[in-house]
């Protein structure tokens, strides 16, 4: 798992077995099974990384995201193979990887543009200069969709980090291995440690812990059961958490226009309005 730019196993020592269709004897691979403690550690790291990430210039965040796209491109084969081992046909794996790289390029471009779209100069009555700007929320807990395992994870996380938040992501349970391969690309990119933290494990077990955590400002839950969504929302009242849930068709993740809408970024910003008198 990737926490704070480091590769860690679960402190619990637990593991989940994932089939390895490439092996001849039908052996399985072991991926970490994150615990409550792992979630808490990741949140602490993400909270620490938020100060630096959110205070970087928008231009710099865009540069780092574009650099990430370059890193992914260099590992295109590796990522595609991971998806294949997760059960995809070669051609579908390749097109998902290509779409994922495009997605990162697209959000690299958003990093210094969404502010202009969401902000406003408000024509208030009276001698005041008044404007509204978007700001990040803090640490966002994400449950990535089951499929597409790579494009879905990046598609969910990119709008969140583009807005200056940091993320603790629970990878797809259907294909957790791809997320860990992605983690290697993330770790070697210029993305500061702790901006994206990837855990593997069971959403039903870990989401309530994320939801209860006081340092998690928001949740973005994809494809979770209504029961788990309700539990997360209930646990989230502890700090009036912003809980977003949705289930998007697998095909819709490939719809570049829809999935790069600035509205996806707007879901994870707070609007700050600043007033100042104006006069001689």
């Amino acid at each position: 798992m990737l926490v704070g730019g480091q590769f860690v196993r679960s402190e619990s020592g637990r593991y989940i077995q994932v089939a390895d269709p490439m092996s001849l004897g039908g052996t399985k691979e072991n991926v970490p099974w994150a615990s409550r403690k792992d979630v808490r550690d990741a949140v602490v790291v993400a909270r620490g990384a938020w100060e630096g990430w959110s205070s970087r210039t928008a231009y710099n965040r865009g540069q780092i995201l574009y650099r990430l796209a370059e890193m992914l491109e260099a590992r295109q084969g590796e990522l595609s193979r991971a998806l294949e081992r997760g059960g995809l046909e070669a051609s579908r794996a390749a097109s998902e990887t290509a779409a994922a790289i495009d997605r990162v390029v697209s959000y690299a471009g958003w990093a210094d543009k969404y502010q202009s779209l969401f902000s406003s100069l408000n024509p208030v009555s009276g001698p005041h200069f008044n404007f509204t700007v978007p700001e990040s929320m803090g640490v966002v807990g994400v449950v990535a969709p089951a499929r597409p395992a790579l494009l879905g994870l990046l598609g969910a996380v990119l709008p969140i980090i583009t807005a200056g938040n940091t993320a603790v992501v629970l990878a797809s349970e259907a294909d957790p291995r791809t997320a860990l391969v992605l983690g290697e690309a993330l770790a070697t990119s210029d993305l500061p440690g702790g901006v994206i933290n990837v855990l593997t494990g069971r959403a039903a077990e870990l989401v309530p812990h994320l939801a209860k955590h006081m340092e998690v400002a928001a949740l973005d839950l994809h494809d979770v059961t209504p029961e788990l969504a309700r539990k997360a929302e209930e646990a989230g009242i502890v700090n009036v958490k912003r809980v977003r849930t949705r289930s998007i068709d697998e095909a819709a993740w490939f719809d570049a226009d829809g999935a790069t809408s600035p509205r996806w970024i707007e879901r994870f910003v707070e609007m700050k309005t600043i007033w100042h008198p104006s006069g001689a």
Binding site: F118, S120, G126, T132, K231, I237, V240, K272, T273, P277
Partner: protein, 509 residues
Amino acid sequence: MTAKETILAGTNGEPHAAPSSPGKRAALDFGKAWSYAPAPEAADHVRIEPRYELFIGGKWTAPSSGKYFDTVSPSTEQKLAEVAEANERDVDLAVKAARVGYEKYWSKLSGIERGKYIYRIARVIQEKARELAIVETMDGGKPIKESRDVDLPLVAAHFFYYAGWADKLAYAFPGRSPRPLGVAGQVIPWNFPLLMAAWKLAPALAAGNTCVLKPAETTPLTALLLAKIIEECDLPPGVVNVVTGAGATGAAVVAHPDVDKVAFTGSTDVGKRIQKALSGTRKKLTLELGGKAANIVFADAPLDQAVEGIISGIFFNQGHVCCAGSRLLVEEGAYEPLMQKLRDRMQTLRVGDPLDKNTDVGAINSKMQLDKIRELVLAGEREGATRFSTPCELPERGYWFAPTLFTGVSQSHRIAREEIFGPVLAVMTFRTPEEAIEKANNTMYGLSAGVWTDKGSKSFWVSQRLRAGVVWANTYNKFDPSSPFGGYKESGFGREGGRQGLLPYLEVD
């Protein structure tokens, strides 16, 4: 005795924080000799009905419970009217009426036609502004100068502003086609009864939704007058419904399965209960909750202006303001002169009959709220902070609390952490901008903040670092319909006002 003798003798017996030479302080020591003659706003032309029913489906409807409750004037403790108590059945009727209103009429209208109705409401509010301001003051206890000069103009402005959005929604979110949500259930508090009704109804209606509004039980009258205005403006039946009652009525509105969107303004406690009640329902929710705003004064600030901002920040509307600047953070170098000016200015505040046009601080909204303020002030004294309350004669009847400030407050004191929702200021100091920001952000709330400094770059630097939805730099408590308002953290989510205030009432994804 002449006025001059009074000034020098200081016969009003007011305890001063620091004795100073009479010449220096003369201007402020005017005591009783300069007391104003009463200037009451005439209320004889205002007619309050003895009893109000529920406004459901365009008709005034008796509650199925058969129950009514009194609404009293907090300044006289006199009963003003009795108001229907809506139970679950009444709320169900109101939601059904809103659904019919949505499907049969409101969703079939073009944006420009919806806008015309909302414009008409705005115009009639302006025409009846005086009556509305007087009733607002009688029912809620706020000074007439505030209801007349602040609340009512803003109420009309909100309807005017959002009326113009009704036919322009597609421009608000380019590249998307926004759609209304359906029926909005809206629960509002007692501190700005009519203004909160406007904040809730105007954007909801402009976005194409229909509404069930539940005003607070201590201040239902102006929402009912607004319902009469809506009736007069001939809105289609069911588009706006007003159900009165206490917490149980609000809970019924929130929990009704056919409500698509819930908007609540009130305490963080109740907001959390609503968030819990809605978990797993997929209803849209916005919450405007409590606050404990820091008002930061740097030593280079224009102190006289800062004092005015501090006063309006905490004593406006008796401090019954969620964004009240209730934590004053003063840079050490400015502490002594600022506190002197602040105590002096506090003593000029006139507390009393809210219908008197000279009154600055009116009545506390209810007995319950007065008890809560007293409890927290007692906690402040017990925890070792130093209390200063302006010496003023409070009327014998009604609920009153003298403007109060605490010095020697530390971060852990209850008066520095909990929302008091009364005219009580907690003062702390800081030495560096970093420390000011650290202290300002050290709260579960994040609704608003104030910054006072002569240096523009510093005010922006600080504003950027404050975790709050509204930052007033060198001003305080300013509102405008075009300007988004809402909180970070446990002050809730969603924004009201501006383009951003339309978003919670639309499906945009």
